[in-house]
């Protein structure tokens, strides 16, 4: 039992971090970023290149991923989403754009990094073993703790920094934020960059454990969508809750339902649909704009 909870917690932390970026972009721009998973994969490959190919320390890799993805995110917002949002009649049009970007990043990743699975060496060896009740390798503990620390840092940033306040304001009421002197274009870009950066950071963190390959993008996006649906799209607390809930569901489901064969995910998906039918706005509703 303890093992299941710890697994769920570890999974939840990384999921929540992925969902945070997606929900931030959604809340600011009303864009469902189909390319989020690809950004995550790109982050993984950047860290891989820096750590495994160039032989630099892991932390440099992480920073490299964060910076690269922030720049990529900013570019995507400025040159792609902004003009399209401005000119399209229906806001769903951004979905085509997002999907196009997802394909594009897939292609770029394939050309730059190849088709193989990549990984970086373990950053710490050893396994924490509490009497076989909880078994957790130290590197996972580290990554889990780092992920939770990043979530906390993100919350603090959004809560107490000037830029964070500006983005929250923007998400809740675009016009009012503009009236407060918030440069809407600039902060939309910062928000998108931040969201992309979070995706890149998770990619960088997880490359030490799961490795990275170019196929992880699409499924990651779908999982992230599920998390923000569970929690309520566009809400920070919802994304975190959604991440941890999905993590726990996987952990518990895989253990409890394993005996029944291949149905864990079927059950998870089906219960998600039932849940949304009952509570369409997710757990936390959609309070921001």
């Amino acid at each position: 039992m303890e093992q299941i909870l710890v697994n769920g917690l570890y999974l939840g932390a990384q999921y929540a971090l992925i969902a945070l970026g997606l929900t931030l972009i959604f809340s600011l721009m009303n864009v469902l970023n189909f390319a989020h998973g690809q950004m995550y994969v790109l982050g993984g490959f950047v860290t891989y290149t820096i750590v495994s190919q160039l032989g630099l320390p892991f932390i440099v890799g992480l920073i490299g991923s964060a910076v690269t993805l922030a720049v990529v995110g900013a570019m995507i917002e400025k040159f792609l989403f902004r003009p399209v949002i401005r000119r399209s009649h229906r806001e769903e049009s951004t979905m085509l754009l997002a999907a196009g970007i997802a394909f594009f990043l897939d292609a770029v990743i394939l050309l730059l990094f190849g088709e193989k699975q990549r990984g970086v060496p373990k950053i710490i060896n050893g396994v924490f073993n509490w009497d076989f009740r909880i078994i957790m390798p130290y590197d996972r503990i580290l990554i889990g703790v780092l992920a939770i620390a990043m979530i906390a840092a993100f919350i603090l940033f959004m809560q107490y920094s000037r830029a964070g306040r500006a983005m929250r304001a923007l998400a809740q009421d675009r016009v009012a934020a503009q009236l407060m002197g918030v440069d809407v274009d600039r902060y939309s870009m910062i928000g998108f960059a931040l969201g992309a950066m979070l995706a890149g950071l998770v990619g960088g963190l997880l490359v030490t454990i799961t490795g990275v390959n170019l196929g992880m993008g699409g499924p990651t996006s779908i999982k992230a969508f599920m998390m923000i649906m569970i929690g309520g799209a566009g809400v920070i607390s919802g994304a975190i809750a959604g991440g941890f809930i999905l993590g726990m569901m996987e952990s518990i489901g895989l253990t409890v339902l394993a005996a029944y064969g291949d149905i864990t995910y079927l059950v998870i998906f089906a219960s998600l649909m039932v849940f949304l039918a009952i509570r369409p706005q997710g757990l936390m509703g959609k309070p921001w704009g």
């Binding site: 500006a166 009421d173 503009q178 009236l179 407060m180 002197g181």
Partner: protein, 240 residues
């Protein structure tokens, strides 16, 4: 003396519908000016044009002698123009504190901001009681006070108020009216007030413009207008 704010023959339309048809108005520093008229007469469009939310299509807006139209919205706030938007538009999931701090977004001196925050809280003691609460849980009147306070946080020279009495219980409307008078007096702030409650607007302003379908139809001292028969008939709901 040059006007603090002036509109010269300003035209503005949404899609193909005119919102302002060649409007010219003027305000002097320290005045309180009211814009009255029916919904859709163009009052709010004037405010949107000043704050840069809408681009004007012809004419000129000048502020402190300089061209204002075409300036980015953020820069306009920095120049000392703050607006209390229609329907309040609080940031409902932010605390009262964060809402107020958003008002000072363009300012950087932290100590200075803290001083302004103090003075706003002194002016609206209710906000102090609700300081940590999220703004969405406030009553309509409290929200209205908060957004006025939020605008003051920018330490504006020109304060724009868009329908501050909308959806507010009559008693509170009077409180708000008193606050507006007090603010213009204490802070030496110039006020441009858009109101449907024409009686209130005329009673607390120095001058007023009456608007109809995108044009100014009447202007003058508020005291004179309030007794004007045309105004009475059209806006004050006398005998019909």
């Amino acid at each position: 003396m040059t006007a603090m704010l002036s509109f010269e023959n300003v035209e503005l339309y949404y899609d193909h519908v005119y919102a302002l048809k060649g409007v010219s108005i003027e305000m002097q520093e320290g005045e309180t000016v009211a814009l009255i008229g029916a919904n859709g007469a163009g009052k709010s469009s004037i405010l949107r044009a000043i704050t840069g939310l809408r681009k004007i299509h012809s004419g000129e807006i000048r502020y402190m002698g300089e061209r204002l139209d075409g300036t980015p919205a953020a820069e306009i706030v920095r120049r000392g123009i703050a607006m209390v938007p229609e329907g309040r538009r609080v940031f409902p999931y932010m605390s009262v504190k964060d809402n107020l701090l958003m008002g000072a977004f363009t300012r950087t001196d932290k100590a200075d901001i803290a001083r302004t925050l103090d003075s706003v809280l002194t002016r609206f003691p209710r906000l102090k009681e609700r300081f940590g609460q999220s703004a969405g849980t406030l009553s309509g009147g409290e929200q209205q006070m908060m957004v006025i306070g939020r605008a003051l946080m920018a330490r504006p020279r020109l304060l724009l108020l868009d329908e501050p009495s909308l959806g507010i219980a009559p008693k509170l409307v009077q409180d708000i009216a008193r606050s507006i008078v007090a603010i213009s007096r204490d802070e030496k702030v110039t006020v441009l007030l858009v109101e449907q409650n024409s009686r209130m607007a005329l009673s607390i302003s120095n001058r007023a413009y009456a608007m109809s379908t995108g044009s100014v139809v009447l202007s003058g001292n508020s005291r004179d207008l309030i007794t004007d028969d045309r105004i009475k008939a059209a806006y004050l709901g006398g005998d019909v």
